[in-house]
């Protein structure tokens, strides 16, 4: 296998795509948002339980490729217990890693376990797969066009 393919499909990515964490409907979510990539049909429903600016719980459901599923799964693991602004800051760092790669100023260690997605930037056609969950997150947190549940 070529080394860039190995970078893309790291063990962590395969693991999270096969056994996505927090893959469920979240009862009592205060924010939900739907993400859709019309190009490939990837679909994602994100549930966030937000209390006093802190992400108490986060989960997702949907269908998509290994990259989009792993990205969503890793994201939920990374964000549980994080403050809203911390989550958005991480979004910025992950986005930079995915779009600028090693040419950017981002170091993989700045994103913790999400560094497993660092190989994506070498596959420009697949960047959207990895960012889908994150754009959906921002939509949920900013409640822009998101369906907000008041429960």
């Amino acid at each position: 296998m070529s080394s860039d393919l190995r970078d893309l499909y790291q063990d962590v990515v395969i693991d999270h795509s096969k056994q996505p964490r927090n893959f469920r409907k979240l009862e009592g979510a205060t924010r939900t948002a739907e993400g859709f990539n019309p190009l490939c049909g990837d679909q994602l429903m994100l549930y966030v339980k937000l209390a006093e600016g802190v992400i108490q719980d986060i989960a997702f459901q949907g269908s998509g490729c290994a990259i989009s599923k792993a990205s969503a799964s890793l994201m939920t693991v990374a964000l549980k217990g994080k403050k809203q602004e911390e989550a958005l800051a991480l979004f910025g760092r992950v986005h930079a890693m995915l779009t600028e790669g090693s040419s950017g100023e981002m170091k993989p260690e700045d994103v913790g376990k999400l560094a497993a997605l660092s190989g994506v930037w070498e596959f420009p056609m697949r960047v959207k797969c990895a960012t889908l969950a994150w754009h959906t997150l921002r939509k949920a947190l900013e409640a822009k066009g998101a369906r907000i549940s008041t429960e």
């Binding site: 393919l5 049909g41 679909q43 490729c65």
Partner: protein, 429 residues
Amino acid sequence: MTPVQANSATTSRLVHGQAGRRRVDFDVARVRQDFPILREKVYGKPLIYLDSAATSQKPRAVIDAMSRFFLKENANVNRGVHYLSERATEAYEGARAKVQRFLNAEHAHEIIFVRGTTEAINLVAQTYGKKHVGEEDEVLITAMEHHSNIVPWQMLCEETGGRLRVAPINDVGELLLDEFEKLVGPKTKLVAVTHVSNVLGTINPIRRIVEMAHARGAHVLIDGAQAAPHLKVDVQALGCDFYALSGHKMYGPTGIGVLYGRSELLEEMPPYQGGGDMILSVSFEKTVYNKPPQKFEAGTPNMAGAVGLAAAIDFLSGLGQETLSDHEEEVLAYGIHALSQVPDLRLIGTARAKASVISFLLADVHPHDIGTILDREGIAIRTGHHCAQPLMNRLGVAATARASLGCYSTHTDIDALVAGLGKVREVFR
């Protein structure tokens, strides 16, 4: 896995035809030499091009014909009286005559040049459709249509209050003819059906469809984008009223396509776009429209595209449509057999009459991941919903991986695909 038969550059086998058994010799190695792009390397590996249903590669003859047009003949058609304009007009109208013979249309003026199949269908929707599909009238399509044979009719129906009806298919991807027939009623003004499905490869029984529709007074449009490169198309034998095709899927350039329409229908249809060429006289009080085909070709046409399409038709004629179909059928059968030996692989679309397309799923690996891994092996396939989301829903899948064949496809391509799928399994083991 073991290949069904040894890799061979030449298809040589016995075919049972109506004329009895005949030997088919198709020198695919020589055909491949006509396609410069097939010598390209992808990530240092030989290009394995299995995406001809998206767009075919172009033979040298097409590339040369277009550059010759620009180098020696370029001028605007139907306008100047000068030498070059005459040459360009001859080339452009010569291309029209060539398409007429290719489709066996009765008249050259039944051939309208458009950008592609999509524009051809939109043209019919916006002209014939607006005139004939009124409130409560129906347009009948099938569950296996490409978005380009769905959306123009939806737009039309939204505008006129017409109704879009959809004939169902079975699980292997064949049109249910009985159900189809029941749906053709007195309100059906137009039936729009694909000749060959871009996702499943299903070849629809066009003659039967036309008979059923005509028996109830409905006209028939055939989306021939996927059929023209693979099957002999005879619009008079099919009996259809409109036939649409795209140049780029049949070894010609992008941006040129054809709408065939029966003369009587074209005569009474309102024009499509307004502009130059489509008029006889213009005053601010009244404009008199030109006759078909000019009535439907406003503005300076894609002259080089038409010349390229004519060269592509010459190329196809040179291969021999029957010999080509036999070659592709043989590689298709080899491919279906080879892929069905791959563990956990599920073929999508197994119609009895099938051409040049193999859609599949591999275990629970998403088609996009399959596509990316194959790409790094130099293998180009299509993945996704193939612009046929309603069909994907009917089949209960979000996407498929699709390998599609052309005149240059070989057993080697199929073997590379099978080996590539082995790599996919390795990554996702």
